[in-house]
Symmetry: C2
Subunit: 165 residues, 2 copies
């Protein structure tokens, strides 16, 4: 308070600003998941299925263990989801070529179609939000989110980011 320049610089770090940031994350995340949730609830699927489909699409041929690392759930939890997706013909599990213990996961044609339907709805909302805000704000959005990730997750995010062209 004794230094007006310094305190003005830090006004965006007041507890009230931080709390608004927290609430913004909470309400925005609900919006973020709302569209895919509506599609999924009409089928027998939930968010867990969506996450699996998303990352298999993103990294085709990924192994079960790798998916476990990305999703941060237990093998049993993922396996239950994966089993229904395989039974329903959305995901294909191929025995690994170099290491035959591993299973490489791929989306089938139907799986790809569902992935597109889900991500279209989510991208549409993201696109609207991005367009409404503008490129500068989007850059800030990205930088703040990246700074909010935990170390290991950030590593995974960045490595996915690099692999995506």
């Amino acid at each position: 308070m004794s230094d007006p320049i310094r305190s003005e610089n830090l006004l965006y770090l007041t507890d009230e600003q931080l709390r608004q940031g927290i609430e913004a994350m909470y309400f925005a995340y609900r919006g973020f998941t709302a569209d895919p949730d509506r599609i999924l609830e009409s089928m027998a699927y939930g968010r867990a299925h969506h996450r699996a489909i998303h990352f298999i699409h993103r990294a085709p041929g990924t192994t079960v263990t790798n998916l476990l690392d990305i999703l941060g759930v237990t093998k049993q939890s993922l396996n239950r989801v994966l089993r229904t997706l395989i039974e329903d013909g959305l995901v294909e599990s191929r025995v690994g070529t170099s290491d035959r213990r591993e299973r490489n996961l791929f989306l089938t044609e139907d799986g790809t179609a569902l992935e597109r339907r889900l991500s279209d709805s989510q991208r549409a909302r993201m696109r609207t939000a991005f367009r409404e805000a503008g490129p500068e704000d989007v850059a800030g959005f990205r930088r703040v989110l990246e700074a909010m990730m935990e170390g290991e997750m950030k590593r995974q995010y960045l490595s996915l980011r690099e692999s995506g062209k």
Copy 2:
């Protein structure tokens, strides 16, 4: 592609950019909830308890119905959480003064202490992220998140925002 100026302006709206935004939201949200989750798991509580505590702290004296609207869950779901919090002496439920059918919810001293512990950890992460990014980025972060909310949730977010000084 025929108009380089127009296409450069819209480069931040490519599908790859949008997908990275989606993944950033996913991984950042996990970081966002990680600290309170660690505190809560040591007790018998979960995220649902955290949300109730947060919004009771934010709007002391709020009614059950109002909390239901904010959290978007069913009465039974909220009631289960609320009951344990009241039993454990973290939340107090007072009969309404003007309308005795209503229950006004308040945090007790213990409840306030837990709220502080939880929000301190979450604010610390938010503060670090905000500081790392800077005020411009934080403004962008906020604008994009607000544009991502659904109508009703955005209304609630803004009304909470106004009530907070």
